[in-house]
């Protein structure tokens, strides 16, 4: 805790109820970390459901996982990792006060984010065309049966896999959309030159959020796409 009793001259970014700029920044950073803790539990509820159903219906999960497009999944993971790099470099640029570089990196991040969402859209559309969306029109006949499953796969249990797939990727995509919104906001202010080496907390905590959403995908990728990719037969 930093409590400097001396009233230092400060810029307009210091809000009245904080004693110092450090205190304000530490509060914002802790706030974001706590928010990310709630986000872990938010996704945690779905991971819990995933764990249990994967134990129960492994064959259906394996078959569902095989039907996902590994190429697009891998590319999307790479896209997100690139976006995380541009965010990390962006925070650095803000700390060093390089406004132009910061603006470019923020634009790149948004582009990567939109690319991710676009690819996700392509994948979802593919699922729609193959009738893999849970509901009345769901059709599991085209799915490859894993070689070791002697009883075949239960189409209704298969719907559980796809329900989780859409719930998890859907809520992740929603977080991406919010992230793109946040970064558009940051871009606007970076453009105006609001962030300086002394004041760049919004970039820093916005970056934390973006990295978190990246980490969620880092887990979703193997859990949804790579359950069972062993060669058949």
């Amino acid at each position: 805790m930093s409590d400097s009793p001396i009233a230092v001259e400060h810029g307009p970014e210091l809000r009245h109820h904080f004693a110092s700029v450090e205190q304000q920044r530490d509060a914002a950073s802790l706030g974001m970390w706590l928010f990310l803790a709630t986000e872990i539990m938010f996704f945690g509820g779905m991971f819990c459901a995933y764990l249990i159903y994967r134990m129960w219906y492994f064959n259906e999960f394996a078959a569902g996982s095989r039907s996902l497009n590994l190429k697009w999944g891998t590319i999307n993971t790479i896209v997100l990792i690139c976006s995380s790099l541009t965010v990390a470099l962006g925070v650095r640029a803000a700390q060093m006060g390089k406004r132009k570089l910061l603006v470019i990196l923020l634009i790149l991040t948004i582009v990567f984010g939109l690319a991710f969402l676009g690819i996700k859209g392509i994948e979802w559309h593919e699922k729609y065309e193959h009738h893999h969306i849970p509901g009345a029109s769901f059709d599991a006949t085209a799915l490859e049966k894993p070689p070791y499953s002697n009883g075949g796969i239960d189409p209704s249990h298969e719907q559980i896999y796809f329900s989780l797939y859409f719930a998890m990727t859907g809520l992740h995509a929603l977080h991406m959309i919010i992230g793109v919104g946040i970064f558009a906001f940051l871009l606007f202010h970076a453009w105006k030159g609001r962030y300086t080496p002394q004041y760049n907390t919004p970039i820093e905590i916005g970056g934390l959020y973006w990295h978190f959403v990246d980490i969620v995908w880092i887990y979703l990728f193997p859990l949804l796409y790579l359950i069972d990719r062993k060669p058949l037969g």
Partner: protein
């Protein structure tokens, strides 16, 4: 918390490591390792997540213990949810594969 400006070389290094791990995890999944496929996939995912947390999110360089506590306790709580649920699902009844 003092600010650390890391060299951009480090960021590029982490980025390359993350890319390599992504390709590795996708590749390894197509080799039959028995039950180890899942374990390897999760280990790779965890090491990727750690790289992001420690370097991109600067946790390695923060002097603040509190941040680490927040991360550790939220993961601990997630594990509570999973393990205590498993006391039920792991022992419920036969019939589910």
């Amino acid at each position: 918390m003092s600010e650390h400006i890391l060299s951009s070389k480090l960021y590029y290094g982490i980025w390359i490591a993350l890319m390599v791990l992504t390709v590795v995890t996708a590749g390894v999944a197509t080799i039959d390792l028995g039950p180890f496929n899942t374990i390897v996939a999760l280990l790779i995912a965890t090491s990727k997540a750690l790289l992001v947390i420690l370097f991109f999110m600067h946790v390695k360089y923060t002097s603040e213990k509190l941040t680490k506590m927040v991360i550790i306790s939220s993961i601990f709580w997630l594990l509570l949810l999973l393990f205590l649920s498993l006391t039920d699902y792991g022992t419920r009844y036969a019939g589910h594969g």
